[in-house]
Symmetry: C2
Subunit: 213 residues, 2 copies
């Protein structure tokens, strides 16, 4: 039996999906500023969840600063292999950038045990060392402890991220870590509340890449 | 500045998260059958989205059949590298299983171009060939065309999946492909409606693995 779905090329499907998302945003009376729309709409495209039209918050010029960093070949550091996997590495490489995740590194596991902390925390510390002199975007979709450690490293002046995408998901410490980060003078894109995820983190990086003029 | 989050080990955080999810399900009057609860709660844990308590549908004995297949060393085939990345490969390997994704294979890309179809379709066809004589679970979090091709391969008798996890996300052809699959006599776990994703597909596989007695 042959299944009849509308036959469209992947690019057509994406274009049509974005139209449908815009129509539904309009219907719901959700006006997204044009500069933020590529990010908000891609996250909704990734999740089919319109809550993100209301819970994503952006520091001043966050999209432009993220794009500028990517154009300079910034590294993108994730807190899961899954987020790294979802990032379009070809698009990133066109500007000289790469996606890095230190979560599976043996030295990170060892450091976490020695310090009595999480691998997510240890992986952020490794990133701070490895990327000391390179522009870096942090895309955190899973571990609130990673976001909290970034907050500390930034306030201590150890790290100056080009952008922090703070979208860990969860029920414990997640809301607190995000609200804390909002107080910081570091460019951010944050999903307030409990929602987020590795897929959301990757979608935001890809949205920045795809909307570079 | 030292950030004060509740200090808990990852296992404690997960245990506490599951308690909070159960409390919220109770508060919302959503009673999940015990056999399905590990899957439903892990998907909510992954997304913080309680819609999944209502949109996940299970064919008769789907959880038990999926677990039995995993215990027999079933392969898990995904339609994205991201879903493959999110599956706990160590837990899978304990039973002799492995996670496979053919989406990046050069022969799949070539076949898709030749046949004028999507890589997702071509990757399902490759899976049907490669896994002809092995038990297999399909975890589809992205491409409705992959789910539609599985429907065809199953109705044609080419493939008899042990379980199909049908949770593609999106706005075009997604609802239709899922509703179609629900008519089929193949074990399934499907997220009705537009929601789903690679993270949801991986979470369901992991939930099955973790709840094997």
């Amino acid at each position: 039996m042959k299944v009849q779905l509308e036959r469209m090329l992947p690019q057509e499907i994406e274009r049509r999906s974005m139209e449908l998302i815009q129509e539904e945003l309009d219907r719901r009376g959700l006006a997204i500023p044009p500069a933020l729309a590529p990010v908000v709409k891609r996250v909704i495209h990734t999740t089919a969840d319109f809550d993100y039209a209301e819970n994503l918050v952006f520091s001043s010029q966050a999209v432009e600063l993220g794009q500028k960093a990517l154009q300079m070949g910034a590294a993108v550091v994730t807190d899961t292999q899954m987020a790294r996997s979802g990032i379009n590495k070809k698009a990133l490489a066109r500007f000289g950038g790469e996606a890095l995740c230190f979560m599976s590194d043996p030295d990170v596991a060892q450091q976490a045990v020695q310090a009595g902390t999480t691998r997510a925390v240890a992986s952020m510390e490794k990133a701070a060392k490895v990327l000391a002199s390179r522009p870096a975007i942090f895309a955190i979709g899973n571990a609130p402890t990673a976001l909290a450690r970034l907050y500390e490293l930034a306030t201590e002046g150890v790290l100056r991220p080009a952008l922090v995408i703070g979208v860990p998901v969860g029920f414990v410490n997640v809301v607190e870590a995000k609200e804390l980060f909002l107080q910081l003078d570091v460019p951010y894109i944050i999903a307030r509340g409990r929602k987020g995820g590795s897929n959301v983190a990757a979608a935001i990086v890809n949205a920045l890449l795809y909307s570079i003029k």
